[in-house]
């Protein structure tokens, strides 16, 4: 259907806990707005967004050619315990593996401990066993006993389960028994969703594989319903674009495919933010960046190396480790709303308890009396009380001051401004520790990276953080407050399939590995085939999880099987990385644990177009306290929307305000707009 508009629109919608962010690009224009999230039925906010686009922004549904969504539905199903009633089928003798886990405690000195595993996903009565056993090499030790299979499925059906997770020992080496279980379930209960461990996570360690498979089953009906409803909504709104969903690894998948692999949708929003940060950095010419998203209760930190976000093989959901590959995001409990307190020895502490949005920081005047990091920002002159969140909220600076004086300054014998500077330093130190975790801890020197602040409060902390860590460049995106939604439009379509290989490198035959990889490629290509990628190039990569013989934690190393000496190259890269991360490399034999195929297609770029606004950027000046000085300084205040690329650099001390964030430019730093409309802050000495 041809619409009146020539332009085709791309829409990114990210649903967060408080706000649903919308970015729409097309027609040479960019529309950005926020709606309150509708937690009970998140798709209501999406429908409202579509209406608002049409009614207020003149974007006709028929002209929407891309529709990309970042969702919390999988995460929330777990956090709120609203997933499906699932059953679990395990090898005879091992159905309690889900509950026993690794028998470890998370807190060493805590005597009163909760169950440490997600046994509640499928408690005792909803676990069943089948008589079968596969050996480590995939051979059959005990053939599948049909009677036990029938009895197991019968038992679960009697419990009225809504989905079944199946995790048999060594199913990754030989999935035939798991498939037999699935076939039988389909025969007797054709509608029942089934999650097989050999498909969800075909890798070694039965507890970890069982847990992720159980989570997959638990969220599957919820995700399935949600995405199906949204597909219907798009159809009803006459939006021709297929629905695309952001996955945990930072790549997009067609809704139809995402519904098959729901456990890969955990933390899809934060992943999109990192991809957005990566796109901003790349546009400004930086391939290596560290993103920090400072939210209300926590901060998310991630590292981008050579344009790729680091991925880790495991994530934590609701306190449980779940083996899902995802963008390596370190979350720590310090954000703008984090409460400031003195411990029993009068030590100054920040977080992890947060004032949240209700009552919020003291300066919100909603009944919060205890000071937060945001209150310190007000006292220090970083935030304009009259222009917070683009003027949507007026802050009461006297309440911020009172809270800090009573709870921190007086008990510690400090002035209010010294206490507020201290609060910022401690919050920054925690964030810096998080940055060290994703950089130094993974063998990267943070000084080689640009820092990209996201979220509303990131830009207040970015330069002090950079100074703490010795970074000399900070890159503030044009719209850090909606970067997750923007990231949705910058992400590639990506699918990944991996499987356990488990062989010493020395015994791995070239042909054997090549065949194994082509089988993985075939499966990955099947997933890609479900995407609408007409005419787009698909890029293929292979990776191997490698460890020394005898070790069990692996490192992920690129493998180019078409290389002349692929295994020699792989081994050298492995030794380098092992040395970089762990401080030693032994020259001993190595093992190929898992092999992985990744297919990716980059979509045509959708740059955020900006309308030129005329006016003078300098709004005035105000008194601001910076670290390292016991006197406030006069800082120039600028309006970001009026800054131009050909303006000269603006020098600190300065404050740059925009509707979704405030940027702090301390003395010794200068700012300049660069490619992609990002604001580059650099240390003068190194400039």
């Amino acid at each position: 259907m041809k619409t009146q508009q020539d332009g085709r629109h791309s829409v990114g919608i990210d649903i967060g806990g408080t706000f649903t962010d919308v970015v729409c690009v097309g027609d040479g224009r960019t529309h950005i707005f926020k709606l309150p999230s509708t937690r009970r039925n998140p798709s209501l906010a999406v429908e409202a967004a579509i209406r608002q686009l049409a009614e207020e922004h003149g974007v006709a549904s028929e002209g929407i050619a891309r529709f990309v969504h970042g969702t919390t539905v999988a995460t929330n199903a777990v956090l709120e315990r609203k997933g499906a009633r699932i059953g679990l089928i395990a090898t005879e003798g091992f159905s309690d593996v889900l509950e026993i886990g690794r028998q470890m405690r998370r807190q060493m000195y805590d005597l009163k401990i909760q169950p440490q595993t997600p046994g509640w996903l499928a408690p005792g009565v909803r676990r069943a066993e089948v008589s079968e056993r596969v050996a480590a090499d995939g051979s059959i030790v005990v053939p599948m006993d049909e009677k036990s299979l029938q009895a197991a499925v019968q038992k679960l059906l009697e419990q009225e389960v809504e989905a079944i997770a199946v995790s048999l020992l060594f199913s990754f080496a030989n999935p035939s028994h798991e498939r037999a279980v699935a076939d039988y379930i389909h025969e007797v209960a054709p509608q029942l969703p089934v999650s097989l461990s050999s498909e969800v996570d075909p890798a070694f360690r039965e507890y970890e594989r069982t847990a992720v498979t159980a989570f997959d089953g638990y969220v599957k009906p919820v995700v399935d319903r949600y995405l199906e409803n949204m597909e219907t909504s798009l159809l009803q709104a006459k939006i021709p674009a297929p629905l695309q969903i952001m996955q945990s690894r930072g790549g997009l998948a067609a809704s139809q495919v995402a519904r098959q692999r729901p456990v890969r949708l955990f933390l899809s929003g934060p992943a999109a933010g990192v991809i957005g940060g990566s796109a901003t950095a790349r546009a400004a010419g930086f391939e290596d960046a560290i993103t920090i998203d400072v939210g209300g209760t926590s901060s998310d930190i991630a590292l981008i190396k050579s344009g790729e976000a680091l991925v880790r093989s495991e994530t934590t959901i609701s306190g449980y480790a779940v083996r899902v590959p995802m963008v390596d995001i370190e979350t720590l409990g310090a954000g703008g709303g984090s409460l400031v307190w003195l411990d029993a020895a009068k030590g100054l502490r920040v977080g992890p308890e947060s004032a949240g949005s209700e009552p919020g920081p003291a300066c919100y005047d909603r009944g919060g009396e205890r000071p937060t990091v945001t209150d310190a920002s007000v006292v220090l002159g970083y935030l304009d009380p009259a222009y917070f969140a683009g003027g949507t909220l007026t802050l009461k600076s006297e309440l911020a001051e009172k809270a800090i004086r009573e709870h921190v300054a007086e008990p510690m014998g400090l002035s209010v401004s010294a206490a507020a500077l201290g609060i910022h330093r401690i919050a920054n130190a925690q964030m810096a520790e998080g940055i060290r975790l994703v950089s130094l801890n993974r063998g990267h020197d943070p000084r080689e990276f640009a820092l990209v602040p996201l979220g509303g409060a990131g830009s207040l902390h970015a330069v002090p953080l950079a100074e703490e860590l010795g970074l000399n460049r900070v890159l503030v995106p044009r719209y850090p407050g909606v970067l997750s939604a923007a990231g949705l439009l910058a992400a590639p379509v990506e699918h990944e399939v991996s499987s356990a290989f488990n062989k010493p490198l020395q015994e791995a035959g070239h042909e054997e590995v090549r065949n194994f990889l082509s089988e993985l490629d075939r499966k990955t290509a099947e997933l890609m085939a479900a995407e609408s990628l007409e005419g787009l190039q698909t890029e293929r990569r292979h990776l191997a999880d490698v460890c020394y013989l005898g070790q069990s934690y692996t490192l992920e190393i690129p493998l180019d099987i078409e290389n002349t000496e692929p295994f020699e190259r792989l081994y050298r890269d492995f030794e380098d990385m092992h040395h970089r991360i762990y401080g030693h490399a032994t020259g001993a034999g190595a093992k190929l644990v898992n092999l992985r195929s990744i297919h990716r297609a980059h979509l045509p770029s959708t740059d955020l177009a900006l309308e030129a606004v005329e006016g003078v950027a300098l709004k005035g000046q105000r008194s601001v306290w910076f670290q390292g000085s016991d006197m406030p300084q006069d800082a120039a205040v600028y309006d970001r929307s009026l800054l131009k690329q050909d303006d000269g650099p603006l020098r600190g001390p300065a404050v740059i305000e925009q509707s979704d964030t405030t940027v702090l430019v301390p003395p010794g730093w200068r700012g300049q707009l660069v490619e992609g409309e990002a604001l580059l802050l650099e240390q003068e000495a190194t400039a």
Binding site: V97, I100, Q103, L111, G124, A345, G347
Partner: protein
Amino acid sequence: MPEGKSEITTETALNPVDYAVISQGLIAAAREMGAKLIRSAYSTIVREAADASAALLDREGNVVAQAELIPMQLGPMADTFRACAELYPVDELQEGDFYINNDPFSGGQHLQDVFIYSPIFVGGEIIGFAGTVAHHLDLGGGNPGLTTEAADVHAEGFLFPPSKYNLYRDWRGGPLERLVSANIRVPAQTIGDFNAQFAANAIGGERVAQLCEKYGLKTIQSVMNQLMDYSERRFRAALSELPEGTYYGEDAIDDDGITEEPLVVKAALTIEKGEITVDFEGTCAQVTRNLNCPYTSTISATLSAIKSVLTSPDIPFNEGVKRPITISAPKGSLLNPNYPAPVRARMEAGYRCFNAVMKALAQIVPDRVISGGNDTTTVTAISHLGDEGYRVYLEVFGGGYGASAHKDGCDAVDAPLSNCANTPIEATDMDFSHFRIIGYGLLPDSCGHGKYRGGLGFYRSYEILKDGVNFAIYADRFRLSPYGLFGGSDGQVARCEIKRGDEVIQVKSKDGMDLKKGDILTLYTAGGAGYGKADERDPEAIRHDVKHGYLSREMAEKSYGVAV
């Protein structure tokens, strides 16, 4: 800065914010050491079970910050260090030097836990030490797995007296590495784990050096001191709220593996003027078998009980916490044995220290203690000498946790002094061909009952696939059950048995034997005890337990008088 008297008058006044920032950095450095040690280790006991720990120490060897991994290994990090420093003064150390010690009679615990300390040089000066300890799967000794009948410490493996070596000269192909390699059975793995310790120490040293570069040596030293003062201050504040007096507790190990005589541990805990004294006078004499608990292990176990009950989790554990605590045990007793007593299984006595102290504390702070749990280190070794050399499978088992005033005990977790993971079934299937695990599950009804029930124990069953397999075990709670508190009933005891054809052989808690192909070996671990009276239990919780198979109908009827 506030005016007035500071508690640390000898120190240069330090900005409280600098202090907060740097102390966090030190704790983070210790954690990174621990994480890297485990992730790059080779032996299953370190890499899968995480039986290793790491700490940063000041120049005098006081623990400043630690990675919280294994409580038992961390208490005496300082004592183990000092034994080395007395012989080889810190002032004389060169770059690359390290201290090493596993001597149970000079600050070590059991031989398998080897402590290594590397000095941290900043501008030619030593500011402190990075220390790690790992449980080494193979350090020689009488048997490839465990030597339960060891007559003395020498039969238990290779002993490093407190000593000093140089990494570049003596390790990395040097004489010490060659000496160790030649005296153990699986050198590649053990040497690999030593290397992981050295690398983790280097990482800790690097982090501390970076902090010094940024803030200056003096500041870091000052923060180290204040970090300890801080923990001490907070702990003393907590102690000052407790009623003064002397409280008693006792518990016992089943037996020494030869006779059937219980080995009694007695504790007298005195709180007076904001200090705690624990005296183990009255504890039984040392024994001929490996259950003796070196003095440093006694200290460690006692500290763990005190810290878990009396301090809040946000007080960092360091030397400061130890200052208000005095611990003594009679020389020649089970808790302070004389050379050359065998000590391999020292954890059992360590747990009874923990229990005796816990029972004494129950009289002071009933709300904060827990009932008896499995509280045992159950170690089994199933080894085989085949064409491919020695294959040694070693596993450390948890069990049911004790219940508390507000919560059921956790099912099937490792006990409080330890925190070892199990070995995945699939890992054992891939690594070993002389046995196969055929069952692993919770044991219904194994808990004690009460307002809150104890945690369930579990079983693990092995089918032996080859002849000539050697099995060894040390464990406890086979006869004396975990104790209930305030009306809660005891947990079920542990046991171990072998099915050989129609015959069932009961294995003792400290035992060893040869196994045959076809044998089925099953270990059942103890359940945690209950807390409070059974008639106060929420009926809904009883119904839930019956529904999901944690509790049988019969047991619900018998223990709670509830028909479900």
